[in-house]
């Protein structure tokens, strides 16, 4: 089967007493085997919630996750009970997080935490689990794995902690790895090392979803990219096509906003305005209030998906009537 993960019309609504927050409001994409998907978008666009909904790890309630189809390796995830989901987490899907320091238990050694995961899913002896953990640490480029296994998280640097998290999440050879802004909390040199590591480790899993607002990271790591805005996807396709010739005004805005150290400028370009409320999103295209090319149609009608070139599609009215949207 070519499709590793199929997501069709995924919605995650948080139902509170006063309002319904539509954090993710109908997104559709697939990750094929061996593929790395970059999920891009600004803060609050719903990227993380989308990823957590795919794992079904968001707390339900208050969240309500629905989809026309949500399947991992052809198996429906939406219907799984709590126990089955737990067996899946860490074994078939794992996740790594933004700030590695908080995600490790301060009172347990690295070895204890890693063997907990391995023994939970593989049912091996403590000794075998320790050896497997040492091998994993070796794989993520940690010097002296046996001594690291005996250390506590506070004795490790941020970069080392993130390597431990990565080693831990890959220790049961999951099919899908979700990396939720894995480099955001790290400084630039460590960022480069972690990205390098992820690129190397991509081969170890069948698929990777990388969540970030850093398009450069996606360009260096991913095969396909999906751009998210206010709970919806606005553009998706192969990395070269989307980042090389972005078609949606939002994607183009994001790309233009990347500062260029070489060019002297008085002011940085940016996308004006803020992300709209997820409680009462604007009618029509959700980006319309911030779009420079907005038409009356945009404000009234929700745009449909259109293919601008094979495999590269956008949800924008201008793709047909504007024409000019295709150039970068």
């Amino acid at each position: 089967m070519a499709e590793l993960l199929e997501v069709e019309d995924l919605k995650t609504h948080f139902v509170t007493r006063r309002a319904v927050v539509r954090a993710v409001d109908g997104i559709t994409f697939t990750v094929r085997r061996g593929e790395a998907l970059g999920l891009a978008g600004e803060t609050g666009s719903g990227k993380s919630v989308a990823a957590r909904s795919i794992m079904r790890i968001v707390r339900e309630p208050p969240a309500k996750v629905s989809a026309r189809r949500l399947a991992l390796e052809g198996e429906d995830i939406l219907g799984l009970g709590k126990a089955r989901l737990r067996d899946m987490w860490g074994k078939r899907i794992s996740m790594i997080f933004q700030d590695p320091s908080g995600y490790l238990n301060p009172l347990l050694t690295v070895g204890a935490q890693m063997t907990d995961v391995i023994r939970r899913h593989e049912g091996v002896s403590r000794r075998a689990a320790l050896e497997a953990a040492a091998d994993m640490l070796d794989m993520v480029g940690m010097p002296e794995p046996p001594s690291v296994l005996e250390r506590y998280p506070f004795q490790l640097s941020g970069g080392m902690q993130q390597r431990v998290m990565i080693a831990m999440s890959l220790s049961c050879r999951p099919s899908l790895l979700i990396a939720d802004e894995p480099t955001t909390a790290l400084d630039v040199t460590i960022q480069a090392q972690i990205i390098d590591l992820l690129r190397r480790l991509k081969e170890k899993t069948s698929g990777l979803i990388l969540i970030t607002h850093d398009l450069a990271v996606i360009a260096g790591l991913c095969d396909t990219v999906a751009v998210m805005y206010a709970g919806k996807l606005v553009e998706k396709g192969p990395v070269g096509a989307v980042l090389g010739s972005p078609a949606h005004p939002y994607t183009r805005g994001l790309l233009e906003a990347i500062p260029d150290a070489g060019a002297a400028r008085d002011s940085l370009p940016f996308v004006r305005g803020n992300i709209p409320s997820a409680i009462a999103p604007p009618p029509g295209c959700r980006f319309s209030p911030r779009c420079d090319l907005v038409t009356r149609e945009c404000r009234e009608l929700e745009p449909e998906w259109r293919e601008v070139e094979p495999g590269h599609s956008i949800a924008c009215h201008l793709a047909v009537c504007g024409g000019g949207a295709g150039v970068a």
Binding site: N105, D116, E131, D135, L137, D138, P145, P146, E150, Y152
Partner: protein
């Protein structure tokens, strides 16, 4: 397995143990340093250790360890002297010996009652805090009910049912004390269950039991230890009160509260009978409170500026 796996094997159990010891020493070193900086805490620690030593070696320290030994009615109500440091009581028994033997009783009652209290309170609190919802609601209402029981009344009821004695006293104390631990641990669990590392453990497939035992409980042990050492004092006091009102230890047990109670009748003529056991209670409670306060400063640095 690879080369690194082999290295784990050859490093051997001994080497691993040695490293673990070093880590523990290093961590203990930090806490020790923090403890030592506070002089009052050291006083508390000294009192508690002295008390423990006295309790352990009571039969060797007491000049008249047996009840009958040195007892003679001709020797009753003698003031403190070289022979009887704390004087003698109305039956001619050596008060010093009885105070020393009483340390054993008070400490044992304290340890057992705290143990039972924690055994009931901690699991209830952890489950209430971790699961939340109706589990929390049900367990906390049960806690409120037990908290509303005046422990002296409950002790009276229990000793009426089971007969007076130290066992009834301990039972009464445990049954009225556990709610404090349930509340304490619940608060900690509520905070901890939203910690990123708990989320990460969940995302790796950890079960609820794994999370409570491996991630929640170890992380709330600090406040529990502080409370336990503070409560040791209060429980000794509570045991003494029960003994004093007559539903705890029964004569001739050398229990401090009971001794104060008996001594009360002779207070005007022979004050030493009530005074010394009373002082022992005072010193023991003070010691545990000072130690507990110091431990709190170590475990919870936020409460330090006082």
């Amino acid at each position: 397995m690879g080369m690194t796996g082999a290295r784990v094997n050859t490093s051997g159990r001994f080497e691993r143990l040695r490293r673990a010891c070093r880590t523990i020493r290093k961590r203990a070193g930090v806490s020790w340093y923090q403890l030592r900086r506070n002089r009052l805490t050291m006083v508390g620690l000294a009192i508690v250790m002295l008390l423990a030593l006295v309790a352990v070696f009571a039969p060797f320290i007491a000049p008249y360890p047996g009840d009958e030994e040195g007892t003679s009615l001709g020797n009753r109500l003698k003031p403190p002297s070289r022979e009887h440091l704390f004087g003698t009581d109305d039956l001619g028994r050596d008060v010093f010996s009885r105070v020393v033997l009483g340390a054993r009783i008070s400490l044992r009652v304290g340890v057992i009652a705290i143990g039972a209290t924690m055994a009931i309170g901690i699991p209830i609190g952890a489950m209430a805090g971790f699961f939340g919802g109706w589990v929390d609601e049900a367990m906390m209402r049960l806690t409120d009910i037990c908290l509303a029981f005046p422990h002296l009344m409950l002790a009276l009821a229990i000793s009426a049912a089971l007969g007076s004695g130290l066992r009834s006293a301990m039972l009464a104390i445990s049954l009225t004390w556990w709610p404090w631990y349930a509340r304490l641990v619940r608060g900690q669990a509520l905070q901890l269950r939203n910690q990123p590392f708990v989320y990460a453990a969940r995302s790796m497939g950890a079960t609820d039991a794994d999370i409570i035992l491996r991630h929640i409980l170890p992380n709330c042990i600090g406040p529990v230890i502080v409370n336990a050492s503070l409560d040791m004092g209060y429980i000794i006091l509570a045991t003494a009160s029960l003994g004093f009102i007559g539903v705890g230890a029964q004569a001739p047990t050398p229990e401090w509260g009971l001794m104060v109670s008996t001594g009360r009748k002779f207070f005007l003529t022979s004050p030493w009978m009530a005074l010394f056991p009373g002082l022992a209670i005072f010193v023991a409670v003070l010691g545990f409170n000072l130690l507990g306060d110091g431990l709190r400063d170590v475990f919870d640095p936020r409460s330090r500026p006082r």
